[in-house]
C-alpha cells in the first residue's frame, strides 16, 4: 500500500455534480490539516476559483482506520475570510477511509435545500424532503445533519463553534450521509499487530478521562470532550488525523514513522521531520 497518492471527492452543490480525482503530487502533505491546506491553497490559486465556491474540506490521514486514537476528521474552511481548522469526532473518519477516499471537498451553493448520499465514490443528490436516516448502509454509515441551528455528526458530535454550521446553512446543505464498504488487506508485517496492541495499551497516556460517553471510531476512551470537537493544535497529530488528547503518542515522530512504515506508506524520516514546517508555512500563507 502506498499513501502518497491522494484520492479526493469534489462535490459541487451549485450544479449537483461530483468527480473523484487522484492527485499524485499531494503525498508530502500526508493528510488531515496538511492535505486540507494543500487542497485549499490549490483551489484558491486556480483560475476557476471564485469567492462563492467557499470550499469545505473534510480530510483524513493514513492512520485513520488502522490505529487507535487516529479517530478524528479534519475540517478546513474559511469563515468570514478567517481560516478555520476544526476536528470532528464520531465515526466520519473511518467511513471516509473505507470509501477509499482521503478527502471530500464540498463547494458552491445549492439554490434549493439539498442533501447527498455518498456510497464509496458515488454521490446521489436529493432535493425535497428526504429522511437522512433512511440513507446509507447500517453499521457502515456516518451522518451529518442539522439539529436546531447546529450541524451534528450522529446527532452528537459537534465542532467547537458555529462557523461550520453557518457555512453549511449558507450552502443550503441539509446534511449528508457517507457509507464506506471498501476493505483493505491486513498489513502482512507482524509488526503491525505489535504496534497496534502497544498503542492500545498506552491508554493511560491519553490526557482525558473515561466517562462512558459516545466515543470516536477507534478510540476506547469514551470521553466527555469527544462531543465538542477541536480547533488548532499539533500539526503532525492533526494531519494523521489523531485526537489532540493522544498527542503524547502521535506527537512522537518515531512512533508516527513506525506506523506509516508498517503500512508501507513510502514516507521517509525526513518527510515526517520536515512536515510540520511545510504545513505551518502553508497555513501561514493561507492566513494572509
Amino acid at each position: 500500500m502506498t499513501t502518497l497518492n491522494k484520492k479526493i471527492l469534489y462535490i459541487n452543490l451549485a450544479n449537483q455534480t461530483y468527480e473523484t480525482k487522484l492527485h499524485d503530487n499531494y503525498g508530502k502533505y500526508i493528510g488531515g490539516v496538511g492535505l486540507g491546506a494543500k487542497i485549499l491553497n490549490t483551489i484558491e490559486k486556480s483560475e476557476e476559483a471564485s469567492v462563492s465556491s467557499e470550499p469545505i474540506i473534510f480530510s483524513i490521514g493514513p492512520l485513520n482506520g488502522y490505529f487507535p486514537y487516529a479517530s478524528k476528521t479534519s475540517v478546513l474552511f474559511r469563515h468570514h475570510n478567517e481560516l478555520k481548522d476544526h476536528y470532528l469526532g464520531g465515526n466520519l473518519s473511518t467511513r471516509i477511509k473505507f470509501s477509499s477516499l482521503d478527502a471530500i471537498v464540498i463547494y458552491g451553493r445549492s439554490k434549493e435545500p439539498v442533501t447527498f448520499d455518498i456510497l464509496d465514490e458515488t454521490v446521489i443528490f436529493h432535493t425535497g424532503g428526504v429522511d437522512l436516516g433512511s440513507l446509507g448502509l447500517p453499521g457502515k454509515r456516518s451522518q451529518i445533519s442539522k439539529k436546531g441551528e447546529k450541524y451534528l455528526l450522529g446527532d452528537y458530535f459537534a465542532t467547537v463553534d458555529d462557523s461550520l454550521s453557518q457555512l453549511l446553512t449558507n450552502k443550503n446543505l441539509q446534511g449528508f450521509v457517507i457509507t464506506g464498504t471498501h476493505t483493505y488487506d491486513l498489513p502482512k508485517s507482524e509488526r503491525y499487530l505489535e504496534l497496534y496492541n502497544m498503542m492500545l495499551s498506552r491508554i493511560e497516556e491519553i490526557s482525558v478521562r473515561k466517562s462512558g460517553s459516545p466515543s470516536c471510531s477507534g478510540c476506547p476512551v469514551g470521553c466527555f470532550e469527544s462531543s465538542k470537537g477541536e480547533e488548532g493544535g499539533n500539526l503532525l497529530a492533526h494531519s494523521l488525523v489523531a485526537c489532540t488528547f493522544a498527542q503524547k503518542i502521535y506527537g512522537d515522530t518515531s512512533i508516527v514513522f513506525s506506523c506509516l512504515d508498517v503500512l508501507g506508506s513510502g514516507y521517509t524520516h525526513e518527510d515526517i521531520e520536515n512536515f510540520p514546517k511545510l504545513v505551518y508555512d502553508l497555513l501561514e500563507e493561507l492566513k494572509k
Binding site: 453499521g139 464506506g180 477507534g218 476506547p220
Partner: protein
C-alpha cells in the same frame, strides 16, 4: 465445548467499534464490510445516544476471548454452547 460471544451488557457500549476492527483483523482485513459484528446507533430516551450490537453466529469460529477483551466497557460475555442450549430449553 464451543464458546458463544454475547453482547450481554450492550447498554455499556460507547460506539468505539474496537470489537468490529478486532473481528476484521482476525479475518485478515481492515474495514467494516462483511464484519460478523456490527455496531448500530439508536436514539434512546431523552435523546441519549445508545448503541445496539448485531452479532452473526459465525463470529464464534474466531478468537472470541480476544474480542471480549478488546472492549473497553466490557459489553461482551462468553458462554458455553451447552449452557446456551439449556437456557433455551428452560
Amino acid at each position: 465445548m464451543g464458546k458463544i460471544l454475547k453482547a450481554t451488557f450492550k447498554k455499556n457500549c460507547i460506539g468505539c467499534e474496537l470489537c468490529v476492527f478486532e473481528v476484521q483483523r482476525q479475518l485478515g482485513k481492515i474495514g467494516l464490510e462483511g464484519s460478523p459484528i456490527r455496531v448500530f446507533r439508536e436514539k434512546g430516551e431523552k435523546e441519549k445516544i445508545v448503541y445496539t450490537i448485531g452479532i452473526d453466529p459465525s463470529v464464534n469460529k474466531l478468537d472470541v476471548e480476544k474480542i471480549e477483551g478488546v472492549c473497553p466497557t466490557m459489553v461482551f460475555t462468553i458462554e458455553d454452547e451447552s449452557k446456551e442450549a439449556n437456557d433455551y430449553i428452560e
